[in-house]
């Protein structure tokens, strides 16, 4: 295949402008996974946020900022409910968020009356490339989130406790720490990031699509795992998750350029995820046996 310099840059730019929503969701997922939870509802919560955002702008003619804030608060509430129920009632977050996946998708369809809402061009500037700079404000914000997320995880007390709780919840509680607020916080953070991702997603397509981001939870978990986040909690970092997002996005774009069909793309992406987990497992075991 021959590609000239210009189309290489064009490809990179198009990837960069494709990934902000997946990046935000994956950062949120990283927090939840590190504290030994999982959030399967991210796709639906993203869609709900984007639906609320669209409806408030188009039908209620509210200002952008108010619509955006409401959408994000709604998404954060979904996260709070996920966290409260799974932590306080000690139900595996896998089940609770599976339920929320249905609930939020249903609410999305109620809000949009199951129709794709065209919002118009007023929000396109969020996701459109900045002239001459080629990248979009959304991508810049996603990058900022990645670095802020990494700072929270490695330098702030909250992040330290996420990791500590994921490593050994029992020991943290017996060290006199109330663990529940931290565990719930991971779900709320994830909800907020899904909410922002929803707004960005709506801006990208200028529409609020009730079927937006179906299955994004798999890509997000894959990005985390490829980046080395442990599904057993306690291990992971946001920068590596971003690397995972880039790998997945590049793979998808590359395969598309090579003319691979959607089913083939699914098979290959899935195989890469399994290979990543396998490599990680073997590496862990090898480290253990060495120690």
């Amino acid at each position: 295949m021959t590609t000239d310099h210009f189309s290489e840059i064009a490809t990179l730019v198009s990837i960069a402008n494709q990934i902000p929503d997946l990046t935000l969701v994956s950062v949120g997922m990283t927090f939840v996974l590190i504290a030994r939870g999982i959030d399967l509802s991210v796709g639906s919560v993203l869609a709900l946020s984007s639906a609320i955002f669209g409806v408030l702008i188009v039908d209620r003619e509210l200002p952008l900022i108010v619509a955006g804030a409401t959408a994000i608060i709604a998404a954060a509430t979904c996260g709070l409910i996920n966290g409260l129920i799974s932590i306080k009632a000690r139900i595996p977050s896998f089940i609770v968020t599976l339920g929320m996946l249905e609930v939020a998708r249903g609410l999305t369809k109620l809000v949009t009356k199951s129709e794709t809402k065209y919002i118009g061009t007023i929000i396109e500037s969020i996701s459109d490339p900045i002239p001459y700079l080629l990248i979009s404000p959304a991508f810049v914000f996603a990058l900022f989130t990645v670095f802020a997320g990494q700072f929270l995880l490695s330098r702030m007390a909250f992040g330290r406790y996420f990791i500590a709780i994921g490593t050994n919840e029992n020991a943290v509680r017996l060290s006199g720490i109330n663990v529940a607020p931290y565990q719930i916080a991971t779900f709320v953070l994830c909800g907020i990031l899904c909410g922002i991702a929803g707004v960005i997603h709506a801006a990208k397509l200028s529409t609020a699509d009730p079927n937006a981001a179906v299955g994004i939870e798999l890509s997000a978990i894959a990005a985390c795992v490829i980046g080395g986040t442990s599904l057993m909690g306690g291990r992971g970092n946001v920068l590596s998750t971003f690397l995972g997002v880039l790998i997945i996005a590049t793979l998808q774009t590359g395969l598309a350029q090579l003319g691979a069909s959607d089913p083939i793309k699914q098979v290959i992406t899935g195989s890469v995820i399994i290979a990543a987990v396998l490599t990680d497992a073997i590496k862990q075991r090898w480290n253990k046996s060495k120690a």
Partner: protein
């Protein structure tokens, strides 16, 4: 006189220290053989060796006159030796018969043949003389005593010549015990040999034909039951001639000012009514048998157990309450060193620094939620030097440290929070003599500032060396308290066993 069913000769086993030293042990056909000794005397190790779970360093065993060298539990089972552990391992949602034949359910194309299962169960019950349990009842609907019977029935459903019961009565009430004993006598009359471990003297003297006493890994005696009274038995268990090891380096910092007063503490499980007073500068030891609730007591004080009743008064703030959350207890100046440092005391995969500062991160090392890394490292380094924690840096993972150093890290986190009261659960278990000494020094330094310690240890020598007072926990209550003027090892051990005696006769 019946013939010998099982014999073991010169059994020795070391785990760093000798646990069993040339122990001889035999069981006759149709004999109930009691096995007793204080905590750590080697009873469990001996039973595990017989059951193939542990391999002896030396010695030989025979069953029915044949050489017997079990490599695994399965070998032991095939030779007709069945062990029933203290903890039940039943599937409570299945029926009695399904539990009994769990490994070999009669099926036809995958469907369980209920009829056949019932028949087989009835046959087994008949064979082993268990008549009053409904085979189709769900295990969850049975009482603790009946579950214990089912657990034993599972062992007996296999070919059994020798049955080992490790403290089968700890969770049973008097009626349930009676029922178990009646059945054990039936089994005995059918020629099965039974090894029966218990801490309750009365049970042993009622039930056993002979009793073997172990102390510190040595067999003291095997005696015919009719020749034994409780006082003699206690003498063997405690060792009447044991010299008290008064430590010359002991210095008391105990004051008469109370630091913590606990009244009528109950957790609805093991603890029924605990009252005690801890003074400033005091090291208070809690003695008691395994299962007497020592760990549960520390957990209840630290707020790890929900739904406790009673009151705790901390004299630092004069406020009476009961803790139901660990973070409230920690905030009030209490710290806990859990019994199992790897699963509960430390985050072993993380580094020394993180483990040291986990309890005090917000209070001492953050500004606007951001960790002040330099502060944190400096404090951790200082503590590492003071406690002589042997690691290359505070960024080393705790996993790679020795047991003694891990323990220092687990205690160290409470020194940063300025805890006033430390609860130490088996602080020196599994660590070497030098590290032990440094833990004692650490404790001494802690109380010299007027702070207080409650310590639980199975090693009575240790507690007598470093504690100001020793309280005996038995039957869910503090039954007796000894201080340095009136204690001796025999009296304390006797006190630990005493409640069991009274319980049995009550």
């Amino acid at each position: 006189m019946p013939s010998v069913l099982f014999s073991a000769k010169n059994i020795s086993k070391r785990f760093a220290v000798p646990v069993l030293e040339s122990v001889d042990f035999e069981v006759l056909h149709g004999e109930i053989h009691g096995l007793i000794g204080a905590n750590g005397a080697g009873k469990s190790t001996l039973c595990k060796i017989i059951a193939g779970l542990i391999h002896p360093d030396s010695g030989e065993m025979q069953i029915c006159g044949d050489e017997y060298q079990p490599k695994t539990l399965k070998d032991a089972m095939q030779s007709g030796i069945q062990i029933v552990h203290q903890e039940l391992s039943l599937v409570s949602t299945l029926t009695v018969s399904e539990n009994i034949f769990l490994g070999e359910l009669p099926t036809r194309i995958g469907v369980i043949q209920d009829q056949e299962l019932q028949e087989r169960t009835s046959n087994v019950f008949e064979k082993i003389g268990l008549t009053d349990i409904n085979p189709s009842a769900k295990v969850a609907t049975l009482g603790a005593g009946e579950q214990q019977l089912v657990q034993i029935a599972i062992a007996l459903a296999r070919d059994s010549k020798l049955l080992i019961l490790d403290e089968p009565t700890t969770s049973l009430n008097a009626v349930e015990c009676d029922r178990l004993f009646r059945w054990l006598r039936v089994l005995k009359n059918r020629g099965i040999g039974i090894v029966f471990i218990s801490h309750r003297l009365k049970e042993l003297t009622d039930l056993a034909d002979r009793i073997t006493v172990l102390r510190d890994g040595v067999k003291i005696t095997t005696a015919e039951n009719f020749s034994i009274n409780h006082d003699r038995l206690l003498g063997w268990i405690t060792g009447e001639k044991t010299k008290e090891r008064e430590s010359s380096s002991f210095k008391s910092y105990c004051t008469t000012t109370p630091a913590l007063q606990i009244k009528h503490l109950a957790d609805g499980r093991r603890l029924t009514d605990v009252s005690l007073t801890l003074h400033r500068g005091e090291r208070l030891g809690i003695a008691g048998l395994v299962g007497s609730g020592r760990t549960e007591l520390l957990h209840a004080i630290f707020g790890e157990t929900a739904d406790c009743s009673g009151t705790q008064q901390l004299f630092s703030d004069d406020y009476r309450r009961i803790f139901s959350k660990t973070h409230v207890a920690a905030k009030s100046g209490i710290g806990l060193l859990p019994e199992d440092r790897k699963s509960a005391g430390l985050m072993v995969e993380l580094d020394v620094k993180t483990n040291l500062t986990v309890s005090s991160l917000w209070k001492r090392f953050t500004r606007f939620g951001v960790i002040q890394i330099n502060d944190e490292i400096m404090t951790a380094e200082t503590l590492r030097t003071n406690l002589k924690i042997n690691s290359s840096a505070v960024s080393q993972s705790v996993e790679t440290l020795s047991g003694g150093n891990q323990q220092k890290v687990a205690i160290g986190k409470w020194l940063i929070t300025d805890a006033e009261i430390l609860l130490l659960d088996e602080p020196t278990r599994g660590i070497d003599a030098a590290a032990r000494r440094s833990i004692y020094d650490l404790m001494q330094q802690f109380v010299s500032d007027g702070k207080s310690i409650i310590m639980v240890s199975s090693d009575l020598h240790e507690m007598m060396e470093i504690c100001d007072r020793i309280a005996v926990l038995a039957g869910g209550r503090i039954t007796e308290t000894f201080d340095r003027t009136n204690w001796n090892r025999e009296a304390i051990v006797k006190s630990c066993f005493h409640t069991h005696q009274n319980e049995g006769s009550a």
